[in-house]
Amino acid sequence: MSRKMGYFGLDEEGYDRIYSDRELFSRVIKLFKPYRRSMTIVIIFICLSSVTYGLTPFLMSLVIKQLELESNPLILIFFIINILILNSLGYVFNYVNRRTGNRMVYGVCYNLRRQTNLRVLEQDLSFFDKYPTGRIVSRINSDGQKFGGSVTMFTELISSFLMLIIVLIPMIFISLLLTGVFMLIVPIVFAFTLSFRKVSRRKSVLGQRSLAQVNAFVQESMAGIQIIKSFRQEESQFENFQAINDQSFRVNMSRALYLSILFPSLDILIAVLYALLIFFGGNFVTQGVLSGSDIYLFLQSSLILFAPLLQIAGFWPQFQEGLSAAERIFALQDSQSYIKQGDYILDSIKGKIEFENLGFEYVPEKPVFKDFNLEIQPGETVAIVGHTGAGKSSLTKILLRLYEFQSGDVRIDGHSIRDISLTEFRRSIGFIPQVPFLWADTIENNVTYGAPDAKREEVIWALEQAGGTEWVESLDNGLETFILERGKVLSMGQRQLIVFARVLLQNPSILILDEATASVDPFTELQIQESMERVMQGRTTIIIAHRLTTVRNVDRIIVLDHGKIVEEGNHENLMQKNGYYARLYNTYFRHQSYEFISSIKSKISETNP
């Protein structure tokens, strides 16, 4: 693991980038665009409530002035009633502003999450190969929450500014000189807080990354819990967790302690200022320049002022957390998907597939295919065989547009797949992955995943085709049995059957079968195979064969080796040819045989007596 500043695993992700504050702000403002009306209401009502609350001390001082003048009690009552009305209005204004503001912030965060989720789902698979799920989840959900929290600070900022102005105006009238002394502090306070900004941002980013790291770690240990248990490795797992958890502690502690210096330091600045005000103010009063109630109002007002002033000053360093959250989310949104998509909609796919001079690599400089050519006719069944790393799975993933190829072209019915609209295209391809993936949902909904409108009878039909429904009936709630996350508790074979049925319902024009290396017993496999053969009729089918028993009946076998076709033909032809395929086939069956096992057994006994 790479180390940075004494921390491990807290480096930036490949898609992270640095935005200028201006860029960030314009992005954030864009998010608020749909809420222009709410924003207007919030601003208006913040102004109104700030004015009402700001005017209260002023009105009170008027009442007290009247006391000094010993004026008519009716005037006093008049003032007092006005104060009460003003304050009640203030409550209403505050209510409207808070309610609208909160709704707006939650709305914005909701949109932000939705957008980000959408953008992430648009990424091609190479993205998910690189970035752990747990960290992406943390970024969308937790950083989204952080961002929301900071936005609320933003609306408070507006009200602070208003308070500042409203309270400052009467102060100027009382004494310009004292206000001048007061204003001296402002640039110092701002210079001071701005110096916190950079470090604060860095520490916030680290804090968020360490939370994402914890998230990813918990996710992985929960996903692998069974193996942890079986090997009784809870302790070592716990130690690894401790390391990450302790790091998160250190990172967050350092951020918290750093930020906790901010406000007490500002308080010290303010104390100095206040002492100055007392000194000058005291002298003014004793010299008769100002009256007692004037200086009282001035000092009282400046005390009221400190809160918004500190809020404005402290906003910037504290808002760094929101900005870094926004930056992390925007970076995720802006990461480029390499898959290009056209808008041509193929109505009904006949199923002709052409790979022309295809060039493809996962990692630069390590090509999987170079000038690869292959043509598959509509309705043809093709099996691809070859050693591990020959490029079998890559070929189908390119066809599915899960990865972008670098050169050459792939055409479906004569159209480049880059020009085709992805949704319709992928829906007309049935893909059966090597490891079946099920959703935490009912069996029925898992089967209808690719065809949500399918009826109950169709679901039963599909399951029948995929090897029978007996096992479903034996479950507690039949088709409505709820499958736990990833299909835990169902056997691997049962999961495969569901996936088969799912693809059957989808009724695809092209079928891609990445044959499972594991799981189904020979009897069930035979059943599936028979139904697959029925299903394959009239569709173009590509089988990535891991068991040579499947390939005997296909139209054409393509033997791949290191991204190149070394042989092609049907089973009989290739066997007669006695080349690569024949060798593969023979060794495969030899490996299934008793002699082979016995020979290995005796070999081992010889070497390790």
Partner: protein, 612 residues
Amino acid sequence: MKSQRLKSQSAILKNNSEFHLEEDDFLETRHKGVRSWILSHMFYRSNKYLMFIFFALIVFTSFFGSYIYIIIGKAIDVFSAGQSDQVVSYTFIVLFIGLGTPILGLLGRACREIVAQRIERDVRREFYLSLLGKSQSFHDRAPVGDTMARATNDVRFLNFLISPALAMILNAIINLIVPIYLIGSTYRLELMLIPIIFSIIFILYLRRFLRRLTPPTVSRRIAFGFMNTVLNESLSGIEVVKSMAQEEHSVEKYKDSAMSYRDAGIEQGDIQAKYLPLLLLSITVTLGLTIAVFYNRAGILSVGAVLGLVGLLLQLRFPVNASIRSFLMLQEAVVGAGRLLEIMNKKSEIFDSHDAVSKEIEGKVKFENVTFAYPGTQNKVLKKINFEVSAGQTVAIVGTTGSGKTTLTKLISRLYDIDDGRILIDGIDVRNFSLQSLRDQIAYIEQDIFIFSDSIFDNISFGRDSSEEQVISVAQEAQAHEFIENLPDQYNTEVGERGVQLSGGERQRIAIARAFLTDPKILILDDSSSSIDSETEERIQKAIFKILRGRTTFIITHRLSQIRWADLIIVLNQGEIVNQGTHEDLLKNSKEYQKIFIKRFDKTLDDLLGGD
């Protein structure tokens, strides 16, 4: 770094979970409920001193924060009286208090931050530990995304409870008391009634406020967990989502969860917006002003006193304003803690019995009338299973999909407890073994091998303190050394989620190497795979047969060759043993066995039956 506090063999087991450490300081309070649990964390070990300093300082600084108003009032009276010689001394008093308060405040803040971050760390540690101690049936049912949400976000709210919520609340209490006291002590006793009545209504309202906040807070936390679950699941299954072009479906699902999160947040906000004490405070202050005016007219209070009184009443806005946020945070923390305790207090179905034994296993395994249904379901996956294996034998388990093969093997290492019957190892019920000793001596090579995002080395050594030579040697035994040497960083190559993706055969050999290192007495091998890659295949077979030697082995396989090599073959059908015996017996006598194998190999059946 090895923790010495591991308690697995120890006899006193109050903590009934699969795994825990010797010291569990929160065991008792966890069961007493949210409040005492949170308190026990707050005052845990040295936290209590820090909390004490923090409390003391906050009382001190809040008091002086209020007291400065009195000083200013006095100063103005003095200045108005024309005593210019007092100006300097008042300047210094203000400076002294003004400087002293933040310096002490900084110390208090540091204390509270330390406690807050510690609580986050300790609670997360406690929660994670409890997750490790839960039985497999719990993990089968707990959505990973929701567990993640609890471990990160719900835990974090406990941090926020201390910093800043608790500080704000304490500050508020003091800011509520000090003006009341000062009004009474400086002006007139009966005037205290105004803020006292206000405070009583205020506190009563806060109780109601908390109660009303509970439902939306609970639903917001649940919604967050659900949002995490949905997102985590759709990203885990991204290949399926994409290949079936069902992005929209995923987006919709996520949208729904994000929407319920938003709605709960809005409901919280609406309750906060209605916060009545703001209005109440205005009424109180005007009332106070009115009364003060009357007193002034009656000649009881001076103008300066009216000013001071109103100033003190206005100070009540600090507790009023601070409580809107701090009480929501308090509620979030309580709800979050409840969600954590909900999981932590769930009893693990599996734990060491008080007289659990740790002993070396020889490897005799016996199933007696074993019946099993997955917890929470009725469907009996295994029914009255009976068989016996001597130490060192190899048992092949065959059967159609869903017949209970994998389940049967999971019961031996007690990943689940059976409903009826007994499983005996060397004549001892597995429930009487300590889990540590049982699982240490059983190795499991699963069907769908899980690789951790870690180096190859760590994936093989898997928590053991193994030397480089040991790891290389087991990798060689497992026929994995060669391909590992060809990886970019050899044994240090990062694999798993963000590293190099390993093929099925490579994963399998890593798992075999892992098993070699543990040198188990009983081995469970779920090997239904077959690779067409002849070289790989040969290597895997070599590795498998090497590891079988000298151990009791349960192998789930469909490879006739392996099956024929087994000492005993068990044929399962719908959870029942329909036949057991050797290959030749079964081929002749078992319809189920024939059904599984004959059809497929009809072409080569003669060769296979012939054996040679």
